[in-house]
């Protein structure tokens, strides 16, 4: 599903070259729930941007669903983001002057899907338990609800991977648990999930934990008893 080979990313700060990733090798299989952990500055955001096809690596290869993504054009990357990747951001990133329904519909609009668009968006909202709030604006929803709308938006095009970048970073612990249970449930239904976090509490839902430090993988271990969809507060 995902294969990273010697993935490297350099940033240029004026004349200075700052290595963010220094050769990452990683494979994520179909249906896995993997957490990428590490302190700030370890390169996990950079890795997330590369896996999410928001940025291109400086060197190395990224193969997604048997396609080498490393050399694609901007528009080709947009297509991959649209069809294969569902993003869940820390700050929700909903468009403020669009209803929940319209936000969820948006990836389908860019996919050029005109039929069943409304139905699909409503179904996605229902799968996160928010069909009642379809006509609400993001500002009328709680943080947990907004993040659930964002998850519905990520799911609506039925992507290969759900990419969650600190999905609970802006939420209280109760909402956080709610969101993590939702992700665990989606994983049980067969969805591949890549979770990026620095909180062990959150990472315990994953089946496999990859730790980064200074742009390198320092450990990659399966988690014996991951928390499940029925998990209550620790």
């Amino acid at each position: 599903m995902i294969r990273l080979e010697r993935l490297t990313k350099l940033y240029h700060m004026g004349d200075l070259e700052v290595p963010a990733l220094r050769g990452i090798d990683l494979e994520v299989g179909d249906g896995e729930f993997i957490a990428i952990m590490g302190p700030s500055g370890s390169g996990k955001s950079t890795l997330m941007n590369l896996i999410g096809c928001l940025d291109q690596p400086t060197a190395g290869r990224y193969i997604l669903d048997d396609v080498d993504v490393s050399g694609l054009t901007d528009d080709e990357l947009a297509w991959i983001r649209n069809r294969k990747i569902g993003f869940v951001f820390q700050s929700f990133n909903l468009i403020p002057r669009a209803t929940a329904l319209h936000n969820v519909e948006m990836p389908l609009i860019y996919a050029g899907e005109n039929q069943n668009r409304r139905d699909k968006a409503l179904a996605a909202l229902a799968s996160v338990g928010l069909q009642e709030r379809a006509r609400h604006m993001p500002s009328e929803l709680s943080g947990g609800q907004q993040q659930r709308v964002a998850i519905a938006r990520a799911l609506v095009t039925d992507p290969s991977i759900l990419l969650a970048d600190e999905p609970t970073g802006n939420l209280d612990s109760e909402s956080s648990l709610e969101i993590m249970r939702l992700l665990a449930e989606l994983n049980q239904q067969g969805r591949t999930i890549v979770l990026i976090t620095h909180e062990p509490d959150i990472a315990r839902f994953a089946h496999r934990i990859v730790r980064l430090r200074d742009g390198l993988v320092v450990s990659d271990q399966p988690q014996a008893i991951p928390a499940g969809a029925t998990e209550t507060a620790p």
Partner: protein
């Protein structure tokens, strides 16, 4: 993304900032209204001038003497005195000039006319009895002079409405004695008003027999015919009449090469085309001046679109993250700027038309503006085009944003 979807999106953006969008539209509105109004004024003036020239009579030919040459130096237009009374008589020959209905001489000058304690400066035309028919004048009262008056050089005058208004103070001018350059003339007729204004006022005239003008009023200039007016039988016969007149005058003046002719013939068509050329330039100039304000409006759109793009940087990042291509973002912002310009333009057309209707009531000296459908369509097209042109840079800037940087933007 379909066009309808893009339009809905753009409208959402416009509606989200009502005041700002409204003010931006106002810039285009004023520009378009100014173009429509000023071009309308130009066209109105053009139509008014055309009407006045057509009032001369569409079958009219005017013959001027050629430019005089003094010591090898060309003098101004019509300065030679090569036309004579005999030429006029020859042109009235039905055999040689079957398409000429009548020909009259004209000798003119300016003079002072007084009646009782009033005086007025006006133009004098000395001519013959066919003047009213050739020049298209009607009599309001009294009558025109006859051929007998011409041959005896009688001191009679026919005057225009403007002269009557300025001298007679409501009294009946017929039979009154006026003084032309301090010599007594009897008023025997008054012309019906022909309209016209300014230097082209065809009612500000005094007409006498040409012999009388030569003898008493145009002293020192000899028996000189300044112009000959020829009326063709019909507007269609104007060209034929012009050819006949040319032949007769060439023969009479013993000129074999038409290029060396010592006279020039101007038809009403010639005057009309040169006048419409002048008013065309006027219209163009007015349109260009108004066009400047349209460009300023366009810059306003560009400015506001740049602000909008900056404000919505994060939104652009989100859209890109969920799969919007460059083209999608470009279309969204281009449509938004064209929408601003298009609505501004449509309102501008409305304001321009209403102002055009109201203008004559405010400035009565101005001819009524003529607003034509093509100019309205063009103005609308141009305003949308301006939205497109000035929207390209901001939209392109939005489309080129890097998704990560856009997402990080606070």
């Amino acid at each position: 993304m379909t066009l309808l979807e893009a339009l809905r999106l753009a409208m959402g953006g416009v509606v989200a900032n009502r005041l700002r969008s409204g003010l931006t539209m106002l810039g285009i509105l004023i520009g378009v209204a100014a173009v429509i109004l000023l071009v309308g004024v130009g066209n109105g003036a053009s139509a008014a001038v055309q009407q006045q020239i057509e009032a001369l009579g569409s079958n009219l030919l005017i013959i001027f003497p050629a430019n005089a040459k003094s010591g090898g130096i060309q003098q101004g237009f019509g300065t030679a005195s090569t036309l004579t009374m005999d030429d006029v008589r020859a042109l009235a020959d039905r055999q040689a000039a079957p398409d000429v209905a009548a020909a009259i001489p004209s000798a003119s000058g300016r003079l002072q006319v007084t009646f009782s304690n009033q005086n007025w400066n006006t133009s004098l035309t000395g001519t013959t009895q066919d003047f009213p028919s050739v020049r298209n004048y009607q009599m309001a009262s009294g009558q025109f002079f006859t051929s007998a008056d011409v041959s005896t050089a009688s001191k009679v005058a026919v005057i225009g409405q403007t002269v009557v208004d300025n001298l007679f103070n409501g009294a009946d001018p017929i039979g009154q004695v006026i003084k032309l350059n301090r010599q007594s003339f009897r008023v025997i007729g008054v012309f019906a008003s022909k309209g016209g204004s300014g230097f082209n006022n065809q009612d500000d005239v005094v007409v006498t027999p040409i012999t009388t003008a030569w003898n008493y009023l145009l002293g020192g200039r000899g028996r000189n015919v300044q112009q000959i007016y020829v009326a063709a039988r019909s507007p269609q016969a104007t060209q034929a009449a012009s050819d006949e007149v040319t032949q007769i005058l060439l023969d009479r003046h013993h000129v074999s090469d038409p290029a060396q002719a010592d006279f020039q013939i101007l038809s009403q068509q010639d005057i009309l085309s040169s006048a419409s050329q002048t008013t065309g330039i006027l219209t163009l100039m007015l349109g260009a001046i108004a066009g400047i304000s349209l460009v300023v409006g366009g810059i306003g759109i560009m400015n506001i679109m740049l602000v909008t793009v900056t404000e919505r940087t994060r939104e652009i990042g989100i859209r890109k993250a969920i799969g919007a291509r460059r083209r999608d973002i470009l279309t969204q912002f281009l449509i938004e700027s064209m929408f601003l310009a298009g609505v501004g333009g449509a309102l501008g057309i409305l304001v321009g038309i209403l102002a055009g209707r109201g203008l004559p009531a405010v400035v009565s000296a101005l001819p009524a503006p003529l607003i034509s459908a093509p100019s309205v369509l063009m103005a609308f097209g141009i305003s949308v085009g301006i939205g497109l042109f000035f929207g390209i840079y901001p939209a392109n800037r939005a489309a080129r944003l890097h998704p990560i940087e856009a997402l990080r933007y606070e």
